[in-house]
Structure formats: C-alpha cells, structure tokens
C-alpha cells in the first residue's frame, strides 16, 4: 500500500509525463489555449490511462512474458489503446451525451497521445525492476496507482499551462516569438520549477 502511494505521488510530480519525459507534448501544446478545454482533455487522458494501463499490465505479465512474445508488445499495446478509445467513445456517447459533447473531439485524439502509449511502455520496463525500487510496478494495484498518477500529473501540467497562456494574452511578446515559441520557453521554465520535486521520496 505504502509503495503504491509513493508510486502515485512520484508519478504526479517527480516523474511527471510532461516535464520529465515530454510525453503527450503535441496535444499538450495544441489544446492549452484555455483552461476549460484543457481540463476536459486532462480528464479524458486520466480516464483512458486508468483503463488501458492495467489492461496492458495484465497482458504483459500473463500473456507476453510467459510466451516470450515481448517483440509483439508495440502492436498489441497500440491495438489495445485504439480499441479501448473506440469503446470508451461509444459507451460515453450512449451513457452520457453531455460528457460526450464536451470530451467528444478529444477522445479519438487520445489514441495517438504519447502519454498513453508511453505509460504502457514505462510499465513494461518497470515490471522488470526489483520490487524494492520506488519505481517498480509489482502488482495490479501499483499499475493502477501509476496510471492514475501519471494521468493526474498530465492534467495538472496542461491546466497550469493553459492558465499561464490565458494571462499571457496581454503580454508584449516579440513578434517572431509569439504563439508557439514563447509557449515552449514557458513550458521549459515550468519544467525547471517541477525539477525541485525530483528528490521526492515518501
């Protein structure tokens, strides 16, 4: 339990998907113009991450590893992600049309969000680690903690950036730097700030 909690907190702050590994950068930069849509995409990422990562964990541990089919993991993981995204999209559309309308456009995008695929690939590496290691994923509970944590960390990062970009509308930025250029530098400075979490241990 303690291990899962530590993993959870670490994956939000110290191993933040955006600031430490640059995963999911494309949609991160494209959809961070206002806080509301950013939060919507963040929720969708947490949702899909929490479903796909434990499924991929089970596949890795119970199917791929015993059969020695590690080289098929890329195709299998991406197929699971694409299928789950499609499924989630259909279920959300049926069950809650209002949620579908607010998330709708982002759901298909998530299939190619590196944070989701990256989460599964990191899981694949961490399964092999020594169980004493703070980064190890030793059971299904750990996989859940890592999934929710990394999703939350991603959402935290995109909401922060959207807030800053909304404020920055009124700033006097040099013309060639406007738009994407200054956004990169802002994210860089935010990443520097997040580095103070890197020694975090519980």
């Amino acid at each position: 339990m303690e291990h899962a909690l530590s993993l959870f907190v670490r994956s939000i702050f110290a191993d933040n998907m955006i600031f430490a590994f640059f995963l999911g950068m494309c949609s991160y930069l494209a959809v961070s113009k206002d806080v509301k849509t950013a939060a919507g995409l963040g929720v969708a990422v947490i949702f899909v991450q929490t479903i796909t990562l434990p499924i991929n964990y089970l596949l890795q541990v119970h199917v791929l590893a015993p059969l020695g089919l590690g080289y098929l993991s890329f195709i299998l993981f991406i197929a699971v992600i694409a299928a789950i995204v499609q499924l989630v999209e259909m279920i959300v559309e049926k069950v809650s049309p209002s949620l579908y309308n607010s998330l709708g456009i982002f759901l298909p995008l998530i299939a190619v969000n590196c944070a989701i695929m990256g989460g599964s690939l990191f899981m694949q590496q961490r399964v092999l680690l020594d169980p004493e290691n703070v980064k190890a994923i030793a059971n299904l509970g750990d996989a859940f903690a890592f999934a929710v944590g990394s999703g939350l960390g991603w959402m935290l990062a995109i909401v922060c950036l959207a807030g800053i970009r909304e404020k920055m509308e009124y700033n006097d930025v040099p013309k060639p730097l406007q738009g994407i250029g200054i956004t990169f530098i802002t994210v860089g400075l935010m990443a520097l700030a997040f580095m103070c979490f890197s020694g975090l241990n519980i």
Binding site: F22, F74, P176, F184, G188, A191, L192, M195
Partner: protein, 205 residues
C-alpha cells in the same frame, strides 16, 4: 528529372514547412533524445526510414483502405515497421537502443507519422509520398541534430562522445553548463530555434 510537385514534397519540410518548427509535430521525442548527439542521430535516421516506408505502404494500399478504420490500419502498419527497426537496433546498436529506451516504441504515436499519413500519403501517389516522407524525416532529424549539438557541446563539452573543448579551457576557469543536460533546456532551446526560424523567414517575405 523530378517533377516540381515531387521536389516540393521533398524540400518543403526541410525549411518552410518543417514538421517540428512549423507543423509542431513529433515534439515529444524531439525533446527527450537530444542530450547527446549520437542517440539524436540514430533517432533521426530511424524516424526518417519509418516515415518514408510507412508513407509508401499506405500510399500503395490507400485505395483499398475503408475510411472508417483507416486510423487502425495506419497504426498497425506503423507499429509493424517500428517493431522491425527496434529489433534491428537492439541487434546492432544495443547501447544506443537502451539509451533511447521507450522513445523508439513511441515513434508509433509520433504525430509526424500520423500527420503525414493522413495529410499526404492517403491522397498522393507512391513517388511523391516517398519524397514527402524522406523530407519530413530529414526535417525532423535536422532539428534533433541542432538541439543535440548545442546541448552536448555546452553541457558536457563533447561531440559524439569525443572531448572537443580542450583541457586548457577548463584549467582557465571554463566549466560545463550542467543545466543544458536537464530536460527543461531542450524546451527552451527548441523555443529559441523556432524564434530564429520565424524571424529569418519573416525577413524573406
């Protein structure tokens, strides 16, 4: 020899329509593998090969792919190519493959691939698609090399693992800029490259 359109498909992405600087695609890996020049080069070459080949494959079968499931078909083609490249790297360049770790697998979700497949290969013939893939891959590799060059030179005083800043500089008080090795500097450097690229292109107009 090459028609104007084919030439444009190849040269456009190298400068005016660069995938990283202008289309803002494939940022994730561009930032993560640029601490040293060698992994950046390997990554650039791998992406170029995969973009070119997947563009060719999708362009060949573009007329027989049903519209509704095209994303999944594209993902499977790309995932198969990435698996091959990953196995080849593990066999012939094991240490670099370990350094690149998950980022090789992440080429699958690299937006450059999906972007080019959707925007170009689905509607163009094989030859143009090949050129477009090569152009975009090289445009991407170029940015990787620029950023990695600056980071490795200033961060550890080396290029491709060889010491280039001589010892007497260190003796006279020069020291490596450790901050260049941190992830944050990659973002700031790419921001600066975009800045330079935009101001140069603006002057031309």
């Amino acid at each position: 020899m090459l028609s104007k359109q084919t030439k444009e498909a190849f040269l456009g992405p190298l400068n005016a329509n660069n995938p990283v600087l202008v289309q803002i695609l494939g940022i994730c890996s561009a930032l993560a593998v640029t601490v040293q020049l060698k992994p950046a080069l390997v990554m650039g070459i791998s992406v170029t090969i995969i973009v070119a080949l997947s563009n060719v494959v999708i362009s060949l079968i573009r007329k027989s792919i049903p519209m509704r499931i095209r994303i999944i078909v594209q993902l499977v083609v790309v995932a198969a190519l990435v698996t091959i490249v990953s196995e080849v790297l593990k066999a012939f360049a094991y240490d670099v493959a370990m350094q690149l770790s998950v980022y090789i697998g992440l080429i699958i979700t690299n937006c450059i691939l999906m972007g080019r497949l959707e925007a170009f290969a689905m509607t163009n013939n094989v030859k143009d698609s090949l050129m477009d893939g090569l152009g975009n891959g090289l445009g991407y590799a170029m940015i990787l090399v620029i950023v990695a060059f600056v980071r490795e030179l200033l961060g550890s005083g080396k290029l491709l693992g060889f010491q280039v800043i001589p010892q007497w500089c260190y003796d006279h008080g020069y020291s490596n800029c450790g901050m260049m090795l941190m992830p944050a500097m990659a973002l700031i450097l790419v921001g600066c490259v975009i800045w330079a690229h935009r101001s140069i292109n603006e002057e031309k107009k």
